[in-house]
């Protein structure tokens, strides 16, 4: 049932990995051509890499989130005439996308480690398991939430998924930034603040687990829990909305 979504995700990941490989090759060529210098000083926390790799998860989330919307737009007659519950069809689509987001994240993390290895910086990397786990869960939770918000918004808008996915890259940072604008009326500020509870960037807090960097005034573990809970609720809603719409 999810064959097409697997192909879709594979295509996205193939292109994405291709770009990363090209980047690594360029880095290696420029380094070993003689201009580079081995890094010998300082240290680098692995958790910082784990946090930075979230950008990959966000990109993959944006690219895959329009899958159900595309199915609703062009291929309902194909996908809704399979001998399976529509909820199950949609849920399996989402499962493929979630796996693709996680895989995209891992590929980026590996690419970052390779990039550091190329310049000889691997011995300087320090690993803190607990901190890394927090970064991974916070970042991936944000990516899942990002995917879920687009997915639920596009579930009844056949073919509009890519548009919403593109807009999200402008809308989410602006929505987060507006919280710090103090010349709005109080009621408008409150509305903006409330809307940020559906903004993954507000939960991720600039991709750092520090409470004072986050718009959502919670410690890191409640934020992680909140992100994942909102993502799951919105994903269930998007599956139901997609399954019960009329073609």
């Amino acid at each position: 049932m999810e064959y097409v979504q697997i192909l879709r995700a594979r295509r996205i990941l193939t292109w994405y990995t291709g770009f990363l490989v090209v980047g690594l090759v360029i880095e290696a060529i420029s380094f070993y051509a003689g201009r580079g210098k081995n890094v010998q000083d300082g240290s680098l926390e692995f958790s910082m890499l784990a946090g930075g790799a979230v950008i990959a998860a966000l990109i993959i989330a944006t690219l895959t989130a329009s899958g159900l919307s595309a199915e609703a737009s062009h291929t309902t007659a194909l996908i809704w005439t399979r001998p399976a519950e529509r909820d199950v069809i949609a849920a399996r689509f989402v499962a493929v996308d979630v796996a693709a987001i996680a895989l995209g994240y891992v590929i980026m993390l590996v690419a970052m480690v390779l990039g550091i290895a190329i310049i000889g910086g691997l011995p300087l990397v320090e690993f803190d398991g607990a901190r890394t786990a927090r970064e991974v869960l916070l970042g991936l939770g944000g990516a899942m939430m990002w995917y879920a918000v687009i997915s639920v918004a596009a579930s009844r808008l056949p073919g509009r998924g890519p548009l919403l996915a593109g807009l999200s890259w402008g809308l989410f940072p602006i929505l987060a930034g507006l919280v710090f604008a103090h010349n709005f009326p109080v009621w408008l500020h409150d509305v903006i603040y409330a809307l940020n509870y559906l903004n993954p960037m507000a939960w991720m807090g600039g991709m750092t687990p520090q409470r004072d960097m986050s718009i959502i005034p919670l410690d890191v573990w409640p934020r992680i829990f909140g992100e994942w809970a909102i993502a799951i609720v919105l994903l269930v809603a998007s599956v139901r909305l997609w399954s019960t719409r009329e073609a």
């Binding site: 049932m1 064959y3 097409v4 192909l7 295509r11 062009h74 291929t75 309902t76 007659a77 194909l78 809704w80 005439t81 399979r82 001998p83 399976a84 519950e85 529509r86 009329e246 073609a247």
Partner: protein, 289 residues
């Protein structure tokens, strides 16, 4: 068997399908005819669960529509719905993954029949080839029930013939087929039953031969003026054209022809009406013919 009972679908103030009832027995090919906007596609959407009917019931082989119904039901939409970025072979692979009753040999047979290049992407196929691929996807699991909305659109005459032969073969093997088309000749060739829709309602339904039999026309020519037509059922519609008369005699055609002879007609002939005549009469709203 497809059994439709009291199917009604409304979009706001528009009654798209109005109390539609129709039975298509097993092994039958039923043509669904109607002008654009008559409600055919909406009826199909309700049959397949794409749209929720406001009233009525649909049963396939005695059971209501459920996901497992699609294990033995094939559907071809009005416009082929395909993944433009997938090849023909990938579409077939999609069917293999999603249809438990997928028949690989049948798939290869159909691809060969329609002469499709399996490596070609759907976006590179002609309209007719896209229709052919949609048909293949509907047929690869040898469905017991087929619902086809304009299945031969875009196909050249040779391929249209192939499609119609496929449908007749499927019906001969026990499949139940409901097919809509604007090409009455196709329905005439493939279908044994017909239902004609107008303004969301089924206005005529039945076995095509019976409908033809029940709607014969008797044409008589008289040497001079047409005499008073005594002894003819007043319920029969009579058209007078100069010294000729046409009687829409339906099942009384032979009796009416004999009566015209007795009244002194110099020439009498009984004509079967074509499916096209039946269709035009059924959809005639008095201003478009």
């Amino acid at each position: 068997m497809i059994a439709i009972s009291g199917l009604t679908k409304r979009y706001g103030d528009v009654l798209a399908v109005d109390d539609m009832s129709l039975d298509v027995p097993q092994g039958s090919v039923c043509g669904l005819l109607g002008r654009n906007g008559a409600g055919k596609t909406t009826a199909f959407k309700c049959l397949l669960g794409f749209a929720k009917p406001d009233a009525g019931e649909v049963r396939f082989d005695g059971a209501p529509l459920e996901p497992q119904t699609f294990a033995h039901l094939g559907y071809v939409p009005e416009r082929p719905e395909l993944y433009r970025w997938l090849t023909v072979a990938q579409h077939i692979e999609f069917a293999r993954h999603s249809q438990p009753a997928f028949d690989a040999a049948r798939a290869q047979e159909l691809v060969g029949l329609f002469r499709l290049n399996e490596r070609k992407k759907a976006s590179k196929l002609s309209k007719g080839q896209q229709t052919a691929l949609a048909l293949i996807l509907a047929l690869v699991h040898r469905p017991r029930i087929l619902i086809l909305d304009e299945p031969a659109s875009g196909l050249d005459p040779v391929m249209q013939r192939v499609v119609l032969d496929l449908l007749v073969d499927a019906a001969t093997n026990g499949s139940t087929i409901l097919i809509s088309s604007h090409q009455i000749g196709q329905i005439d060739r493939a279908a044994d039953r017909v239902a004609i829709m107008r303004d969301g309602k089924v206005v005529i339904a039945g076995v095509i031969d019976d409908l033809r039999e029940a709607s014969r026309v008797v044409e008589a020519t008289f040497a001079n003026d047409v005499p008073e037509l005594s002894g003819i059922d007043p319920a029969i519609r009579i058209e007078r054209i100069g010294t000729s008369v046409r009687a829409h005699a339906n099942s009384n055609a032979d009796a009416v022809a004999a009566r015209f002879g007795a009244l002194g007609a110099v020439g009498v002939r009984v004509m079967d009406r074509s499916l096209e005549d039946l269709f035009l009469d059924a959809v005639d709203d008095g201003g478009n013919r």
